[in-house]
């Protein structure tokens, strides 16, 4: 306590000139910037990113900081900017700087950093290593998987065995390249096999071609179903502080239709995805959230043990409530989710500067991290073309109608002329806050009309996110998964899969 007090006094004394460098310029980073702008320490905020985010740019200017355009994945560039500006610490938004060792080079030079270092970020960078780790330490919620170095290695397997599977690039490649194929009906098998094989080939030849940073290129996992949720946590390597569970919506179009995106919007209320502040209907049970936190903690412990490095920053489990395991890891994040960051930061009551300071000084256990009891819904607005033909989504002049209250800029570029051009991804993320998720959804829905494209090219968003109907369905889906995993739990076969192989005997996995 005395140490905490001392550290806090140091900050308090210099609060007028506290400086923070934010790395990254998307919707998530805009939300992080807003959280810093709210801080009672009123830090000077600096930002380094590839495009100039119009929202962050304004906050930076108002705080007396500066915006630098550059490659956030370049450790030299980030270090140079941090030293030049003399910031007290750096907050890293996206995952790629972690993968490129940006936190490592900062810490080497004594610049504190909120961001997973290269070695612990392995849990996100390599989806195959993540599973290896999970199986080695027998952490619950582990899916059955196979990893391959080349297409040629994987092809015979896909041909012979793979049934209902998720085919993934073994590296995190911006959430792209994942194909989930249910192969259950024998009469459609030939067609599905063909596509699976082609996709595995394109994972190897297209999605992974620019990444030489790992041996294994292809990951094949069993397909599971159930409601997905993201459990984001702050960690100083010793303590894990969970944030409210958030549910992202990955399908591009209404009604969970269409290709996978980085996330078209997300919902959040209470720790366990409740219907509303005073409405206890929920997608998860409190027990399931606790179990999920325990799983994330075990992952952090395991990666620290394995690498001997401390985890400082944000860790998140991209989870699913499955019928096999209950809480199950789909992927791990070494940072906040986008758009999930918007939901949690909007209700974060505790000063973010205090949390960062506690992470840096490894005394997160002494900070009471609190969240306001509110429902939040985020809806992303994207130009047509996203996510499959991003070139078409890019370069359109953006018009803003009305004030920007509730609008978070994502893939947008503020030009010197003051005009804004669309990037190739989600353009803005609209945040609604209310007493219930459906109410917050209606607020976010109204905000989506605040931007348009000057050339008439279309924008789209999902109107169903957070609607009563969609919430009901998610709760129903959770109940179905829960009924089965609870039965398995009672039987003592949670996570076990048994297959009778005629002529060979009983095979057990799990």
């Amino acid at each position: 306590m005395s140490f905490a007090w001392a550290a806090l006094t140091v900050f308090t004394r210099r609060c007028s000139w506290l400086k923070v460098l934010l790395v990254g310029g998307g919707g998530r980073e805009h939300a992080i910037a807003v959280a810093f702008a709210r801080s009672s320490y009123s830090p000077k905020l600096y930002c380094l990113s590839e495009l100039v985010n119009p929202g962050i740019s304004r906050i930076v200017k108002n705080s007396g900081g500066e915006y630098y355009v550059g490659n956030p994945n370049d450790p030299e560039m980030v270090l140079k900017t941090a030293l030049k500006t003399g910031v007290d610490f750096v907050f890293i938004g996206p995952e790629e700087p972690n993968f490129h060792g940006v936190p490592d080079s900062l810490e080497e030079k004594g610049v504190p950093c909120i961001g997973a270092n290269r070695q612990v970020a392995e849990i996100e960078l390599s989806k195959a290593s993540m599973r290896d780790l999970q199986w080695k330490y027998r952490i619950p919620g582990r899916l059955w998987y196979k990893k391959f170095r080349t297409f040629e290695d994987a092809a015979p397997y896909v041909e012979e065995y793979a049934e209902s599977v998720a085919l993934k690039p073994a590296r995190q490649v911006g959430g792209k390249g994942v194909k989930v194929i249910e192969d259950f009906q024998v009469y459609l098998k030939d067609e599905k096999r063909k596509v699976k094989k082609q996709h595995v080939e394109s994972i190897y030849r297209d999605y992974m071609k620019d990444y030489g940073d790992m041996d294994f290129k292809i990951l094949i996992e069993e397909r599971v179903w159930g409601p997905e949720y993201t459990l984001q946590c702050f960690t100083d390597g010793r303590t894990i502080v969970p944030m409210p569970a958030v549910q992202d919506n990955k399908h591009a179009f209404d009604g969970d239709l269409g290709p996978e995106t980085g996330g078209m919007g997300s919902i959040c209320c209470g720790m366990n995805l409740k219907w509303g502040v005073n409405d206890e209907r929920a997608i998860l049970t409190e027990e399931e959230v606790e179990k999920s936190v325990e799983i994330v903690k075990m992952m952090v412990d395991a990666i620290q043990l394995e690498t001997g490095r401390k985890y400082h920053g944000v860790v998140a489990g991209q989870m699913m409530l499955t019928s096999i395991w209950g809480p199950t890891i789909i992927e791990m994040y070494s940072r906040l989710g986008d758009p999930e960051a918007l939901n949690v930061l909007a209700v974060l009551k505790t000063d973010i500067v205090e949390i960062c300071e506690a992470i840096i000084s490894e005394r997160l256990n002494t900070v009471k991290v609190e969240f306001e009891d509110k429902a939040t819904v985020v809806k992303a607005v994207s130009p047509h073309g996203y996510p499959l033909s991003r070139d078409l989504a890019k370069g359109h002049l953006v018009l803003v109608h009305d004030d920007e209250e509730g609008i978070f800029w994502a893939s947008a570029d503020l030009k010197n002329s003051g005009t804004i051009k669309s990037g190739g991804s989600r353009l803005v993320e609209c945040l609604g806050v209310a007493e219930t998720i459906p109410e917050a959804s209606r607020i976010a829905e109204r905000l989506t009309t605040k931007v348009s494209l000057a050339d008439g090219w279309g924008l789209f968003h999902r109107s169903d996110i957070g609607s009563e109907k969609s919430l009901e369905r998610r709760i129903m889906l959770a109940n179905m998964a829960r009924e089965i995993y609870k039965y398995r739990e009672r039987k003592g076969i949670l996570g076990k899969r048994m297959i009778w192989m005629p002529g060979k005997g009983l095979e057990e996995v799990g």
Partner: protein, 437 residues
């Protein structure tokens, strides 16, 4: 009625062909005269012919990630009238039900129905084929129908007329795309196993539009008058389907219960005429405590016989399909339940066979009201002078078919069994009252 199907996959790696074939097989009960499919990808090809799906489409030799298909009960003369119909070089349409009128177009008596649709479209759209244009054309069509159309720009639209006469549902295929079809059973057969409901109902007047960049539901006008086809619930749809979010199986069980409530008969056994009337009979038996027995065994392929156009085929169907198991009926008083009576001659045949095998009494109960009138929306009801229910009383029909008693389900009971309001249903074939189109 026709079974219509559309598959829209975003990734060009897919070939929707085999999905199309099995999807249409799941709709085969809606039409057994012609089958056809069009695949759109690098190239565009329509394959079609007379007969069942597995005979006509088994060797497709066509590829594409988008597909539209149909199975139809209508015998057609010209090849160009086989569904799915090419409206022009750009647009192909699968159509269930009947367009009875097109705003601003006068029907040309010298052309076939399909020819009129093509001409009406040409006068509306010229050579154009944008998906918005196709949708607007159908917004101008009156009648009772559901449609699925694709065009040269790899766009697809699927919609229902504002009265909602014909059904249409939307299913999903993971991150890969969407499926639209007449009935939800298609999703069970070719879609992903989604452990909630397999498909979402597309509401009357609404249309689902797919383009390479989007998939969105376009809400229809604010007209609230509905005329959902009640015959779907009694006979047309598969019992594993949902129509307008109502499970068919539930309605069929309700009908069995209603039949048992409308009058009580002393009997030893309940027997349902396969396949449609089986759930009626099960519920009737549960309700009354009279045991249910399997009364028939079939020879050959399962073919829906009631609406076959030709009498010889119909009777052949019945006699092969319905060989009476004598042990189930000998010396017993039988409650025989069937789904509908059109002309009465197949029923007479069944009753005759059953008496021949030793049934002591036969009390016929029908799971639908008497069919007295035609269907303007494409259900093939024979000419009115052939309809036994239009001309004879229940007592007289009992005598004609050789049964000890004969009763229809009342229209009131049917409405209650379906669970929709009277003014939301089209009951035209049972009561000659048709919706205004």
């Amino acid at each position: 009625m026709t079974g219509i199907l559309g598959i829209y996959l975003f990734d060009e790696k897919w070939n929707a062909g085999s999905f199309g074939i099995y999807g249409l097989m799941a709709l085969q009960h809606r039409g057994q005269e012609t089958a056809g499919i069009e695949l759109i990808g690098q190239a565009r090809r329509r394959v079609f012919g007379k007969g069942l799906v597995e005979d006509v489409l088994s060797h497709l030799g066509a590829e594409g990630h988008i597909c539209v298909g149909a199975v139809s009960p209508y015998p057609v003369e010209a090849e160009e009238d086989v569904q799915p119909l090419a409206f022009n070089e750009k647009v192909t349409v699968a159509l269930d039900g009947r367009v009875t009128r097109v705003e601003g177009y006068s029907w040309d008596a010298s052309l076939s129905y399909e020819g009129n649709l093509r001409k009406a479209f040409a006068s509306f759209a010229g050579p154009r084929g944008e998906i918005e244009t196709v949708k607007e054309f159908f917004d101008n069509c009156r009648g009772g129908f559901a449609y699925i159309a694709v065009n040269h720009r790899m766009e697809m639209v699927a919609g229902r007329c504002s009265l909602g006469v014909k059904p249409l549902v939307l299913g999903k295929f993971g991150f890969e795309g969407g499926i639209v079809a007449s009935e939800s059973c298609v999703m069970d057969v070719i879609g992903e196993r989604v452990p909630i409901s397999p498909a979402e109902n597309i509401e009357a007047g609404d249309a689902m539009v797919f383009t390479p960049f989007s998939a969105r539901l376009v809400k229809g006008g604010d007209s609230s008058s509905r005329a959902y086809c009640s015959f779907e619930y009694v006979y047309l749809a598969r019992p594993d389907s949902y129509i307008n979010d109502i499970p068919i199986y539930r309605v069929r069980r309700n009908i069995g219960r209603k039949l048992s409530e409308e009058d009580r008969v002393d009997a030893d056994v309940v027997i349902g005429v396969p396949e449609t009337a089986i759930p009626f009979a099960m519920a009737y038996s549960n309700e009354t405590g009279i045991p249910i027995e399997k009364g028939f065994e079939l020879t050959g392929r399962r073919v829906r016989s009631a609406l076959r156009p030709d009498q010889f085929e119909r009777l052949k169907g019945v006699q092969l399909k319905l060989n009476v198991i004598s042990e189930a009926v000998r010396g017993k008083r039988v409650i025989l339940i069937d789904d509908s009576v059109v002309r009465g001659n197949t029923l007479a045949n069944i009753v005759y066979l059953m008496k021949e095998k030793g049934a002591k009494e036969i009390h016929v109960r029908i799971g639908s009201p008497h069919i007295v009138s035609h269907c303007p929306f494409g259900v093939e009801v024979p000419p009115e002078d052939e309809l036994i229910g239009r001309h004879l009383s229940e007592e007289k029909i009992a005598e004609v078919v050789g049964a000890d008693s004969f009763k229809y389900l009342s229209v009131e009971s049917l409405i209650e069994a379906i669970g929709l309001k009277r003014d939301e249903l089209c009951l035209g074939c049972f009561n000659c009252v048709y919706p205004e189109v």
